[in-house]
Structures are given as C-alpha cells and as structure tokens.
C-alpha cells in the first residue's frame, strides 16, 4: 500500500513491460555530456572567482598588470577566429542534417583550422609575455590571469584533437548512431568553450585593460 490513494486496478494492471522499447542512445549520451559540461562550467566559475579575488591592485604586488600588456584588438582577433570556428562547425552540422558527408567534413576542417588560428594567436601572445619576463610566477594576480586563460586554451587544444578524431571517424565509419552522437556532444563542447571565451574576453582582457 502506498501513501496516496491507489488508482490502479490490480486485476487489470499491466505488470511487465510488454511492448519492447529500446533506449534512445543519442539522447542518453547527450544528456550525460550535458551533465559533464555543467561540471566544466563550475570549474570555470571557480576559476573566475579566484581571478576575482586575485585581481586587486595589491594582487599584482607592484609587478605588471593586465592594463600594461593587454592588446584588446589582438584578443578580438582571437574572438573572431573562435566564433568563425563555431560557425563553421554549425555549417558542418547543417550538412549532417542532409546526410552530406563531404559537407560535414569540410565544415569540421574549417572549424579545425580556425581553432588552430585561435590557439596559435594565444601561444604567440604567451611567448611574447614570457619574453617580457611576465609569467605565472610574477605575482598572485598574474598567476590567476595565466591559469584562467590557459585552462581555457587547454580545453581548445583537446577540442581540436577531438575534431580530428571525429573527422577520421566520419570518413571511416560514416554516420552511425555512435558518430552522430559524438558529433552532437562535440558541438556542445565547442559552443560552451566559445561562450566561456566571451567571459574571459570581457572580464579578463577588456576589464583588465581598462582597470
């Protein structure tokens, strides 16, 4: 007996699952990946909190501050590259809807190249800072700056590997339940990284530049 009033007639009740139904593999997979991305979002939220605490004037301990070295236009170019990459991925996914394999692969390749552009710009920026003697060890503020931006860049790096793997999988296996599921989860990942970049750009680069 359950606490609420019984509504089912036990004589007529269906006791076993007679119409065999299978679970939707793709939606189960995207749900799990969405949950993972939630935790990834929490990870960045914590990093932003740490950055917030460590971006006071005294956090830089008299050393260099972002206001001294951030070039907003340079980082804007990175923004454009990443957004175009997401756009290219979107064109690829559009091709997927029409079962157009070469369209998908072209879109993914374009997304890959643009992602590489983003990453190369980032690495160039970092080595430039390094040559000026600005590193993670310069001050608490610079530690927070470096870790936040480079954790994002690391995500981009692994996303690029993943894009290559997916290009190879689509070429060898075509559109199976598995590959399509992965293409969808990769899209979620790639979008989230772009969204997070918006926050990085605004709160770290632009904010750092003006303050």
């Amino acid at each position: 007996m359950s606490a609420h009033a019984s509504t089912v007639d036990p004589k007529k009740a269906e006791l076993w699952d007679t119409h065999h139904h299978s679970h939707d593999v793709i939606s189960t997979r995207t749900l799990g990946y969405f949950l993972y991305l939630l935790s990834d979002g929490m990870l960045f939220a914590t990093l932003f909190a740490a950055y917030g605490v460590l971006s006071y004037q005294h956090s830089y301990f008299g050393g260099p501050t972002p206001a001294e070295f951030v070039k907003p236009w340079y980082t804007f170019a990175q923004t454009i590259a990443l957004f175009l990459s997401v756009l290219a991925y979107g064109f690829g996914m559009n091709a997927l809807k029409h079962k157009n394999k070469s369209g998908l692969i072209n879109g993914m390749l374009a997304a890959f190249v643009l992602g590489v552009v983003f990453l190369v710009l980032d690495i160039h920026d970092m080595s430039h800072l390094y040559s000026m003697g600005i590193t993670i060890a310069s001050s608490g503020g610079m530690s927070a700056f470096m870790v936040l931006t480079q954790v994002h860049a690391t995500h981009i790096f692994f996303g690029l590997i993943w894009i290559l793997v997916m290009i190879a999988q689509v070429m060898t296996k075509g559109f199976t339940e598995e590959t399509v599921g992965r293409l969808l989860t990769l899209r979620m990942f790639w979008h989230l990284q772009a969204v997070i970049w918006v926050f990085v750009y605004i709160f770290v680069y632009l904010w750092g530049y003006i303050s």
């Binding site: 036990p10 699952d17 139904h21 749900l31 608490g140 999988q169």
Partner: protein, 702 residues
C-alpha cells in the same frame, strides 16, 4: 619556469631515491614486510586455485553495475580498516603522551610517534575516512541499488562506471603507497595555506595529497554523472518521478551536489599544484597571494561534500525503517523536498568552517543563519522516520538496530552542529576536539547506515542472509565504543583541548583519555566481531539462503528479481503502477505473477580498457608526485591514445535470446522453490561467491 626543488632530482627518477624508503622506521618497516608477505600469499593462493582467468573475466573487466558496486564496497571496507588503524594510533599516542613525565620510544620525546609522523597519521586518517572509505562505500551501494530500484538492466554508461571504479582504486593505491615510498601530508586532511607551499612542506607528502584527492574527485564526478543519467533516462515504464523509491531520490540529490561541487575542489587542488610545481602565487603569504582564498575554495566544496556523503545515508535509513516497521515511509513528498532543500542550502554555509577568519558580524551572521536553516529539512527527516516507526510492527533485527543508532547519532551531531553554527560559541570551541566529536557523530551516522545497509542488501546481492547473532554483537560493541570514545571527547572539547595534539600538556585530562582508549579497544573488538560475522555467515550460507523477497516486507523493485540478482537484473522489465510497487503487488496477491514470455535483450560487453586506464591514472599520479616528467608525458599520452582507440572500436554489445533467458529464469525459479520448501531442514548448497551474481550463460563463445 618550474620551481627550484629542495633536495635532489634526476631526469630518470625525479625526486625518487632510495633514501625515500623508510626502511629504518620501526613501525613502517615491519608493516611493509607484513604487507609484502600477505600479498605474496594472496597472489599465491589465486594462482594455486587457478582463479586468475575467473578474476579477470568476471571481476576485473566487468561492466556489471552490481559487481562494480561490490568492488567499490570492498575498497571502502579495506580503507575503512586502514583508517581505523590510523584512529587507533592517534588515540594511543594521545593517551600515552600526557604531561612532561610521559615516556617516549622510537625517537619520540613523548609517546611513540614523532610529531611529523603523528601529523601524517591524522591527515591520512581524515582523508581516507571521508573520501576513500565513506565515499566508495556509498557510491558502491548507489551503484548496486539505484539501477535495480529504477528497473534498469544497467547504468546509463556501463563503461564509464567501470572507469570510475578503477580511478577510485588508483586513488586508494596512491595513498597506500605513500606509506612505504616517501611520506604523506602532515598538515591535516584539508591542509592550510601557506604551510602546504613547497617552501614549508618540501617533501612529497602534499603532492601525494593533491593527486590522491584529484583522482577521487575525478572518479566521483564520473560516477555522479552516471547515476544522474541513469535516474533520468533509464527508469522502467510507469515509474514517474512521484513513484521513484526514496533511496533513488537521495542518490539523485547527493549526486547533484557531487557534480556541482567537486569541480571547486579540483580547481583548489590545481591551484595548490600550480603554486608547488610552477611557482605560482595563489596562496603564498607574499607576492600578492591570498591565504584565505584557499580556505574558501576548499570549504565551498567541503561543506557540500559532507552532505554528499550523508544524503545517501539518509536514503538508506529511509529504506530500512519502512521495511522493518511494515509501514510505508511517512511523508514521502516532504522527504524528497527535504533532500533537495539540504542539497541547495549546503551551498550557502561554507563559511561556518572558519567564522574565526574575522569576516565581520554581518557575514558571520548570514552564514550562521544559513547554517541553522539546514536544521529544518533535517528535522523534517527525523520526524518522518519517527512517524514511520510510530505504531508500526517493528522488527528489531540487526539492520534496524544500526538504522536506529544512526538516528540517535544524527540527533547528537545535529544539535552540536547547531551549537557550532552560533559564532559566539564557535569562537570558543573552534579547532577544539568538540568539533572533532561533532563531525564524528555525523560521519558515524553514515557508518551506521552503511552497516545497516550491508545487512539489509547483502541477501539481495549474494543470496543469503548474514548471521544475526554476530551482527548484533558487532552492533552493541561498536555502539559501546562510540559512547566511550566520543562522550569524553565532547567534554574535553568544552575544557579547551585543541585538536591534533601529539603531546597533551594537561595531566588532568588523563582519565578522559583513558576512557577513550578503552573505547577504541572496544571498537577493535567490534571489528573482530565483523570478521567473525563474515566467517560464520559464509560457513553457514547454505542454511540462510533466501528467495527474491528476502525480508518479506520490503517495498521496492529490487526485491522483485532473484537473489542473487542475475546479471541482466530483470528478464522482463517490470511495469510500475504504484509508488511502493512490490508492497502493492504483495497486498493484492499478484507478486508471484511471472512474465508471459521473454524477448531478446541487449547487454554491454566486458572490457579491459577501464582497468588499464585506472592503472595509467595511478602511474600518472605517482609520476606527478615524484616529478618524473617523462613518465607523466608517457602515461598521459597513453591515456589519450587509449581513449581514441576505444572511441574507434566502440562496443556493439551482445544479444541474449529470449529462449536462453527463459532457461536461466526457469533455473532460478526452480532454485527459489527449492529454498522455499526446504527451509532450514535441507540446506540448498551452491558456491558462495561463484554463484553470486554470475548466472552462467550457456554458450562458451565469449
């Protein structure tokens, strides 16, 4: 950019050197010899009985959620034992080293542990008990029970489940190896800034601490995703949210906490690692670092974490009370809401762990009020359990005793928590053993709920009940130990004894410490009773076999399938009509109705990838600890490569035909009938572990 290390470093071995092996330590060296001999005997026995293929095929490569759960629980019990030994050592040091005239041995001025060694013992004790004993035990139970209770054949992601287990195993192995290679952190289980900086803790202890925790966090996050997805996606037809068993709700709320809070810990640890490995200044005392940032980040995870461990325990109690009161759970809806409320509020209270930081009266008041708010949903739960038992037909078997014990401890721990939540009181007793007694009361709620659950669900997993006499003996010994250790501890806390003393200066505390030592001896007897319990129960298992519905008064789906549960859980998934489906079917006399026919079902294949990944994460953790850079790179590359290969291969799974299913089901029903009519007179034999959960398939093609 990498920091200058104190001490030596070589490209091949990193910081590892012979001098890091404590072979001259009078405690560790004999222990090491004993461990090696034990391991050799164990491996020898496995080889002698030719069990390697069995182990590999049935356990190490399995993706079956029940077997993975059992392995989680085994890891948890082993670590519980290790943590208990640490506790015994702490108590013995404190009862010994009282006053300036106390003697000292083994190079220690007072007692038998040097301050450095004592620090490692209590740090390891705390970390192990919370993250490598309680957590795996609870995750193990969630693993076994949640999929069956929602009427699924497995978790949403069986492979990921195996991965989570092996990563947790890697974490346990890493902290165990710190006993014999190098040393462990000695600044407490949650560490402090800036003493964990390389400058002040130059050894590898803190590094072991970082990577052990990092691995646990990873494993637990993966497990959390899996449970959430399983509950959301895999429920049997008819099981709407309002019909979800209460343990499932508890697991759901707990894993919402895990999923959202563990990233904060991972960041806190990563930033400590950045300080120690890259010379960053997040938490340094100078150079713009912020000490309290660390403490905040840690407890932003830390407080939700304590609710992550207690919510499943609440869920277990909510299953045990109705079964042995023969009544439905009182206040199902409020119970669900209370779990969710606790999960939500647990995010808003972290600052109560450091009121003394001095954030000011407004901040402290806000966090004080938020902390006390937790008492409301917790109180709702306590009343619900009490009303469940009220006018019920109570059976005081061992499982029920543990659950009732948990209820009492919850009251004590909750009340003292409320006291601590008042900043004015907190300033007096913060960092005293009063706090230690508070959280041990709370964590013992979990231990009690776990032992209750071991007794309650054991017959479901293994097909026979545990011995009642020894289970009750263990319960009473354990409870006597609890009283003897923690009542004096509360008193000492009020008298001002601070925590973590390796030398007790006040000789008038001696008698209290004596009582506590007596308590830990009684605890030791209860551990002994537990071993006897296992021995006696396995010896007599043929007498104690049970059918599907082992207790006859349980209410949820897991008691509708055979005991032990077949690897496919349900031959035909049940259609759920009511909240307490089995109780409803029993009441209307339709609990024996069998499915009319069997369809083919699809199951995932075993895989060796998960255990290899676990091994690689262990290597990675070890290499990072000792700064063996080439090994870090190799193991990281291997992990990535393995992931890619696995993703290319995928898992097509395999089909069990309806006919084969029918054969196995009929076999199971035949055995159950045998148990029913031969009860106690003619024991039904069968392997203990061999049969458990391993309904053999006919074909040998696999």
């Amino acid at each position: 950019m990498l920091v200058d290390l104190p001490g030596g470093w070589s490209p091949l071995l990193g910081r590892l050197a012979w001098s890091q092996i404590p072979y001259a330590n009078p405690i560790l060296a004999p222990l090491f010899v004993a461990v090696v001999i034990g391991a050799i005997i164990l491996l020898g026995l496995i080889t002698y009985y030719g069990k390697w293929t069995y182990l590999w095929k049935e356990w190490l490569t399995t993706v079956d959620h029940k077997k993975l759960g059992v392995m989680y629980i085994i890891i948890g019990l082993v670590m519980l034992f290790r943590g208990f030994i640490d506790g015994l050592m702490i108590r013995t040091q404190q009862v010994w080293a009282v006053g300036p005239h106390s003697t000292g041995v083994f190079g220690s001025l007072h007692g038998y542990l040097t301050p450095f060694h004592f620090g490692q013992v209590y740090s390891a004790h705390g970390l192990i008990m919370i993250l490598l004993a309680a957590t795996p035990l609870l995750v193990g139970f969630m693993n076994i029970i949640v999929p069956i209770q929602v009427g699924a054949r497995d978790m949403a992601y069986p492979y990921l489940n195996a991965l989570g287990l092996w990563i947790t195993a890697a974490a346990a192995a890493l902290i165990m190896i710190s006993l014999f290679v190098g040393d462990f952190a000695h600044n407490g289980w949650f560490e402090y800034a800036p003493i964990f900086e390389l400058q002040y803790s130059p050894g590898v202890g803190v590094d072991y601490w970082i990577w052990t925790l990092q691995l646990v966090a990873l494993g637990t996050t993966l497990g959390g995703i899996n449970i959430l997805a399983t509950v959301i996606k895999m429920r049997a037809p008819g099981m709407t949210w309002g019909k979800l068993p209460i343990f499932v709700w508890a697991s759901l709320s707990a894993n919402v906490i895990a999923l959202t809070s563990f990233p904060a810990l991972q960041v806190a640890l990563a930033l400590v690692a950045a300080d120690r490995y890259l010379g960053a200044h997040f938490f340094t005392a100078g150079m713009g670092g912020n000490l309290m940032l660390y403490t905040n980040l840690f407890w932003i995870w830390g407080h939700p974490e304590v609710y992550f461990v207690i919510l499943p325990a609440f869920g277990m109690m909510s299953e045990i009370f109705p079964t042995f009161s023969e009544k439905p759970l009182f206040g199902y809806i409020t119970m669900v809401l209370a779990s969710m409320a606790i999960a939500g509020v647990s995010w808003l209270v972290w600052l109560h762990h450091f009121f003394t930081m001095g954030a000011g009266p407004y901040v402290n008041t806000a966090f004080s009020v938020a902390t006390m708010l937790v008492g409301i949903p917790t109180g709702v739960k306590v009343f619900n359990w009490a009303f469940t038992m009220y006018r019920g037909r109570l059976t005081f078997n061992a499982a029920m005793l543990w659950a009732i014990g948990a209820l009492f401890l919850l009251l004590i721990g909750g009340m003292t928590g409320m006291m601590l939540a008042i900043p004015a009181i907190n300033y007096m007793v913060h960092n005293s053993v009063f706090v230690v007694a508070h959280f041990h009361s709370m964590l013992l709620v979990i231990v009690y709920a776990i032992f209750g659950s071991v007794l309650y669900w054991f017959p479901k997993v293994f097909g026979f009940k545990l011995d009642e006499f020894w289970a009750k003996t263990m319960f009473w010994l354990f409870s006597a130990g609890t009283a003897l250790v923690f009542v004096p501890m509360y008193m000492l806390g009020f008298m001002g004894m601070t925590r973590r003393l390796e030398y007790v200066f006040n000789t008038s505390w001696q008698s209290y410490l004596d009582v506590m030592e007596l308590g830990i001896v009684v605890y030791t007897l209860s551990v002994l009773a537990f071993f006897i319990l296992l021995y006696v129960s396995i010896r007599d298992h043929a007498k104690n076999r049970v059918g599907a519905d082992a207790w006859g008064t349980s209410r949820s789906l897991e008691w509708m399938t055979h005991s032990p549960v077949p690897f496919y859980n349900f031959a035909v998934l049940p259609h759920v009509n009511e909240r307490d489906e089995l109780a409803w079917r029993r009441q209307h006399g339709i609990d024996q109705v069998r499915p009319a026919h069997y369809d083919d079902i699809h199951m995932p294949n075993n895989t060796g990838v998960a255990i290899i990944m676990g091994g690689l994460t262990f290597v990675l953790g070890f290499a990072l600890t000792w700064r063996i850079w080439w090994l870090c790179i190799v193991s990281l590359l291997a992990i990535i490569l393995l992931m890619i290969i696995r993703s290319f291969k995928g898992d097509p799974g395999y089909i069990i035909t309806g006919a084969e299913l029918q054969r196995m089901e009929e076999e199971a029903y035949r055995r159950e009938a045998q148990i029913a009519d031969s009860h106690h007179s003619h024991p039904v034999s069968g392997g203990v572990v061999g049969n458990a959960m391993a309904y053999q398939r006919n074909d040998s093609s696999k």
